[in-house]
């Protein structure tokens, strides 16, 4: 029993009659990298909160370093060496790097005075240990996301963490930053620090985990080691559904005229000389790293950030896209990357969110809004896109990520789009909903709508796009058909600019 740092036995917790957790067991050994997997709403966050002492379990026991607790306080949890790296890192944007690292320590030690040289020296040595290259006096706001995360890790280590819990740590990181995080986790493992890695991304888990526990609907499904399980099995355990994806095959292009053709599109300092064409019924993927110009290109095609040079043709006729209104008149729809802030009116009803782009259609005489018609249309889309709700008057923030994304899609479909641009359509969406959205994309393509997916999710693009363009530093460097490439090739193509830089630096 000596090599177990954390052991949960038969943990149950319910909120107002709803079982969030039902007799869950979890065991993390010293120096182990353990993954906790589950879809959104499966009870992962509740479990984390029980380990950190925020919630008290209704039943079951917690063993930390061999000591038994019926319930745990946050302070005791920290004292026993449990640290959590939250999704937003829980850092202070206005304080310096050094202060962010040692502030938790100052509070834990109940120091009355701060900012002494001793604390800064401690922060510095920890930062050096894990390879955080940042000026200790820099204001945290000016750091990159990955650096902020490292600051949070430094803080955990300064608090003498024995078990670090990462809550969805890779959401805002680029591929390369994820690689660095993983090697850091492995370094910490060598020093005896255990990791509980909470995620719902398969690729990551297969790469980093030694052992993992899957929970679904508040119940533990299985604990097993990574080597002994296949991808399909894994998805089944996570979702309780058998899901698999074939590669998307585009029907023969019978039309000679492309639906959308872009020639020499340029925006200074962002992207240069972009040319491609999109045929009806196609799903075209554009992949590139964050900062490759992919998002700006998408916004240009939607008229939000007009290009400075180049031509855009639709059905062979040149069109101008200098405003969103123009793009909508040409039946171009755009589903943004961050649906929460750019795509939805969260506190407003689902009905309103679907109808908002198309108010003109529901306007009666004197501009009176025809509410019944609007409701009928919304209800129809909610059904056809299998949104998991029947109450269209509920606010949009009641829905899960995947269902919210369906609402954004429904809004555009009600405007009869001919071209749809999706920017990272499945970020923060769980597996089952991801499959649903992919299915929707394919259905749309079969209705002769031209679809562009902009993403850095390689498996998604590989499975769903019949043609893939690779974007690097604002330029399209390669075009591939999905039948003649592989995920590995795509990964290396997308990331190659970084390896070039690295070589140059060495």
């Amino acid at each position: 029993m000596d090599n177990t740092i954390l052991s949960l036995k038969g943990i149950s917790k319910s909120f107002g009659g709803v079982h969030a957790l039902d007799r869950v067991d979890l065991e993390v050994k010293k120096g182990q990298i353990h993954c906790l997997m589950g879809e959104n709403g499966s009870g992962k966050s509740t479990l984390i909160k029980i380990i950190s002492g925020v919630y008290e379990p209704d039943k079951g026991e917690i063993l930390l370093n061999g000591r038994k607790y019926e319930s745990l306080t946050p302070a005791e949890s920290v004292k026993q060496g449990v640290s959590i790296i939250y999704q937003d890192f829980s850092i202070f944007p206005n304080l310096t790097v050094a202060e962010n690292i040692f502030f938790g320590y100052v509070i834990a030690e109940n120091q009355k005075l701060t900012h002494n040289q001793e604390n800064i020296r401690k922060a510095q040595s920890i930062a050096k240990e894990i390879g955080l290259e940042a000026d200790m006096g820099e204001i945290l706001e000016n750091l990159s996301v990955a650096q902020k995360q490292m600051v949070a890790i430094c803080r955990a280590l300064l608090n003498n963490a024995k078990l670090i819990i990462f809550d969805e740590p890779t959401t805002a990181l680029t591929q390369r930053e994820v690689k660095r995080l993983f090697s850091l986790i492995r370094d910490m493992q060598k020093k005896g620090v255990s990791t509980l890695f909470v995620s719902h991304k398969l690729e990551e888990v297969f790469e980093i985990a030694e052992e993992f526990t899957i929970i679904r609907n508040g119940k533990k499904v299985i604990t097993t080691c990574a080597a002994s399980i296949t991808r399909e099995k894994f998805i089944y355990y996570m979702t309780g559904r058998k899901l698999s994806e074939d590669q998307f095959v585009c029907e023969e292009k019978t039309e000679q005229v492309p639906l959308l053709e872009v020639k020499g599109l340029s925006m200074e300092g962002v992207y240069q000389d972009i040319s491609f064409s999109l045929y009806p019924g196609e799903i075209l993927g554009i992949i590139g790293l964050l900062g490759s110009g992919r998002t700006e290109l998408a916004l240009s095609l939607f008229g939000m950030e007009p290009a400075q040079k180049g031509q855009i043709f639709k059905n062979g006729k040149e069109i101008k896209l200098t405003s969103v209104k123009q793009a909508m008149e040409h039946h171009i729809g755009y589903v943004p990357e961050d649906r929460l802030s750019e795509g939805l009116f969260l506190p407003q009803s689902i009905n309103w969110n679907v109808g908002i782009s198309n108010l003109g259609m529901y306007a009666g005489r004197l501009g009176r809004l025809l509410k019944t018609e609007m409701r009928t249309v919304t209800q129809q889309y909610v059904k056809s896109l299998s949104v998991n709700t029947t109450e269209i008057d509920k606010p949009a923030n009641f829905l899960s990520g995947g269902n919210q994304q369906k609402i954004v899609i429904a809004r555009w479909l009600s405007c009869n789009p001919e071209i749809m641009i999706f920017n990272c359509p499945t970020v923060g969406v769980d597996i089952a909903a991801k499959f649903d959205i992919h299915k929707i994309l394919r259905t749309l393509a079969s209705q002769k709508i031209g679809i562009v997916i902009i993403s850095d999710d390689i498996p998604e693009v590989y499975a769903n796009c019949n043609r893939i363009l690779i974007m690097q530093k604002g330029q399209i460097v390669k075009e591939l058909s999905n039948t003649e490439t592989s995920e590995t090739e795509l990964y290396s193509l997308m990331g190659s600019e970084y390896s070039d830089e690295k070589e140059a630096a060495e």
Partner: protein, 334 residues
């Protein structure tokens, strides 16, 4: 190189530059700016708005905006004076200050309690307590000016720290002893905000309340401290004002909320919380005092002063509005 660049982007820099330009301009036109009596006048005029600015600074760093001080200060000072008069007070003047501070702390704690318990917007809560203080002052206490203040306070009012005579202006100047109260308070607030765990916790709460809670800062305790301390400063300022004016007038702080808040913002404190410096607060206050006091050296009529003060207030609140909208945008992007 980097440091130099940073200075340019800060409000403090522009405020300091504006002060310098104003000072040189007034000196060139009147030749009376850099005289000992004018400098002492400015320092004297800075005492009250400077102290109130410090209290606003603390609240603003935590992410709030306190508007209760004009009448919490007035109520503290007025209650103290009528109490002392009732007992024919002849003791140590420190007791007068202590009593006023105590009243201030109580009012501040009421603010703190409401904000801590219900997390209502600070502006609304303090607006309400300000109104309540005003009601108590004029409704219950039936306040009016008390020119005959207790003897110990009167004698403090006549004590001077520095006396000078300027040949150039042919005028005597003086700096009252209570300037030391302002000076010590400034040093204390600087130490609090820069060097103590409590001060840094206030910055942390202003940066991100949720994070502060999660790393174990007792946020409620911090809120109580902030508003208790702001109340303490209000009480202290109230009594200081009595000493400076040698009379006790219940409306003496009315209208100061706007200028104090604008001065703190012009000095680079962000209304969105988490950032600001004492130097900035002092610079902002100095700018207002110069416009208020020294423009008359150039023979500029009174109503033009009002005009310039108005411009500064618009500038100050304009910066605030800009910060809020930018934060909202940033929040969306991140």
């Amino acid at each position: 190189m980097d440091k130099v660049k940073k200075i340019y982007t800060r409000n403090e820099f522009y405020t300091a530059a504006l002060i310098l330009v104003l000072a040189v301009f007034i000196e060139l036109r009147s030749g009376l700016f850099f005289t000992s009596n004018n400098i002492l006048d400015i320092l004297r005029a800075m005492i009250v708005p400077g102290m109130l600015g410090l209290s606003e600074y603390i609240v603003m760093v935590s992410g709030g905006c306190d508007v209760s001080f004009p009448y919490s200060a007035a109520l503290s000072m007025y209650s103290t004076i009528i109490l002392l008069k009732a007992v024919d007070f002849m003791g140590n003047v420190m007791i007068a200050f202590l009593l006023s501070c105590l009243f201030g702390i109580v009012i501040g704690m009421v603010n703190g309690l409401i904000i801590m318990r219900y997390r209502f917007p600070v502006l609304i809560v303090t607006l309400a307590t300000c109104s309540i203080c005003q009601g108590i002052l004029f409704g219950i206490l039936n306040a009016h000016e008390i020119p005959a203040i207790p003897q110990p306070i009167q004698s403090l009012a006549k004590s001077m720290l520095i006396r000078t005579y300027s040949e150039k202006a042919q005028m005597a100047g003086s700096l009252p002893l209570v300037f030391l109260v302002f000076f010590i308070l400034t040093a204390a607030v600087w130490f609090l905000m820069r060097r103590t765990a409590m001060g840094r916790s206030i910055f942390a709460v202003g940066g991100d309340v949720g994070s502060a809670e999660r790393i174990g800062i007792k946020v409620n305790y911090v809120y109580m401290f902030i508003y208790g301390f702001a109340g303490f400063i209000a009480g202290l300022t109230g009594m200081t004002r009595v000493v400076l004016m040698d009379t006790c007038h219940p409306n003496t702080f009315s209208g100061m909320d706007m200028t104090v808040i604008a001065a703190v913002i012009l000095g680079g404190t962000k209304v969105t919380g988490g950032s600001g410096s004492i130097t900035g607060v002092m610079l902002g206050t100095l700018l207002f005092v110069i416009v208020n006091n020294s423009l008359q050296l150039m023979g500029i009529p009174n109503y033009w002063q009002k005009f310039f003060l108005g411009v500064l207030i618009v500038l100050g609140t304009g910066i605030a509005a800009f910060q809020v909208s930018r934060k909202r945008k940033k929040g969306k992007a991140g």
